[in-house]
């Protein structure tokens, strides 16, 4: 099935894989000295192409990692793992959308690995306390949800979800990958993606409604 994401397929050649080789011929001729120049020039151009392509995706990786439960103290290392993975595969990827999907899939793997390591070293109670603390700081329903509060709310809801559903929900609803892309990168059938997404959406709606109702009740009782 054809992908039907909202983003258009943008060839990575757009990111100047070859443009640098077309410019500055005069200057290059003047300054190129030594047999290593051609190779070094190719590497530099490739490096710049990767840099241009990956820069707009760093925020994507940051969001996905955070939504999949990576903590603030872990995010730097996790991002580096994703960037290195993308760099290794960059030459095999031909479109921006494909690179984005690969970055998202890498985030899923990295989040899973980091989560496993954390689970071995962190008491579960600490996470529960963290959630309770966040709940205590929630505003009343009449308050306008500011950005930070909205993010906290999303995070709280996502953390109640089964991991497999959460991954599909984040990639489809927040990062706008297509069902086909998610299936390919997670190695599962499209039907499974659709099924997990349906359940995740129901859970998300229900959790938001539950939290909203609880906070409204708490607010009215003079919290």
């Amino acid at each position: 099935m054809a992908a039907h994401g909202s983003m258009t397929e943008c060839p990575l050649s757009f990111f100047d894989r070859n443009v640098t080789s077309q410019r500055s011929t005069k200057v290059q001729a003047a300054v190129a000295v030594g047999p290593g120049d051609a190779e070094a020039g190719r590497a530099v151009r490739r490096h710049h192409a990767f840099q241009s392509a990956i820069t707009p995706l760093v925020d994507v990786a940051y969001r996905v990692l955070r939504r999949l439960g990576i903590k603030e103290a872990e995010i730097d290392d996790a991002l580096q793992m994703v960037l290195l993975a993308a760099d290794r595969r960059f030459d095999e990827i031909s479109t921006h959308q494909e690179l984005k999907a690969y970055v998202c899939a890498s985030c899923v793997n990295v989040a899973r690995d980091v989560g496993r390591i954390r689970a071995r070293s962190t008491a579960r109670t600490a996470q529960v306390e963290e959630l309770e603390k966040a709940a205590a700081a929630d505003p009343g329903p009449e308050d306008v949800l500011d950005r930070k509060q909205a993010l906290e709310l999303v995070q709280r809801v996502l953390e109640t979800m089964d991991e497999e559903r959460r991954v599909v929900f984040v990639l489809y609803e927040l990062e706008e990958l297509t069902g086909q892309q998610i299936a390919e990168h997670l190695g599962i059938p499209v039907g499974t993606v659709a099924s997990r997404l349906r359940k995740a959406r129901d859970e998300f709606r229900a959790a938001i409604a539950r939290i909203h109702a609880a906070e409204r009740a708490s607010w009215r009782s003079g919290r």
């Binding site: 200057v27 760093v58 969001r63 730097d76 489809y172």
Partner: protein, 279 residues
Amino acid sequence: MRDPRFPPRLADSQSEGDLVRDVLRAAKGETMGPSGLAKTLARFEATKLDHAGHAGAAMGRGSWWRSPFTARVGVSVAIVCAIGVGLRASSDATTDARPVSPAPAAAASHHDAPAPVLVSTETIATPATTRVEDLPEAPAPTDGPASAGRAPAARATTDRASAPTVARGTATSSAAASSGSSFHEELALVEAARSALARGDTTACLRALDGHDERFREGVFADEIAVMRIEALAARGEHARARTLGERFLAHSPSSTYASRIRSILATAPRAAHEGTDE
């Protein structure tokens, strides 16, 4: 044709409640901010270069810090990291309590650890000579307020990246003292000059170089600026000035990795002297 199994996204669906839409839109719009982005990319560069340095040393091609490009990026990382660590130190006392993870930071910190081979960086780190194109690209032009608590934690990387600064002394400390914004501005000017020279616009190149000298005379990229100026002057036929600056550069930095390129420029200048405008 839309797959019916995949409905419109909740954030775009008019049938969803406001709260669902609002929180999802907020989550979709979250970013690291320019400061966080710059730090992440700088640390990535440092990690790659660190690996490349090991690869180069292992192959007997010399030390990684001999590459001007590597050195400049290293200096850049040192500056960005210093800013980030400073910010973090004031707001986050848990840095040292980081959970141990198999992160690239660990690879970058432990020099004996096996590093993934990154084809591009091996060659970046060890060019036979350095060209204008080897100069770093400028990152995002603006730099917003630093995002507290999201500082680069590559302490060892910073140490390693700081090595080239020893040779540069005052210039580096001056640059390190400047703000992240100033650093980006300097890098942007270098990039503007590089791009102008690369497309043969020597006037724009010299204008950018003059702008750099006015603001960052002791800047991190002083050598690159000097070399670009000599090249730009030679390219526009001002051979006498190019020679003067080139000889001064060679007298001051005879062992610079740019020396061979300067000599090459000077060698061709006399032959083209009759075409010049100042000879």
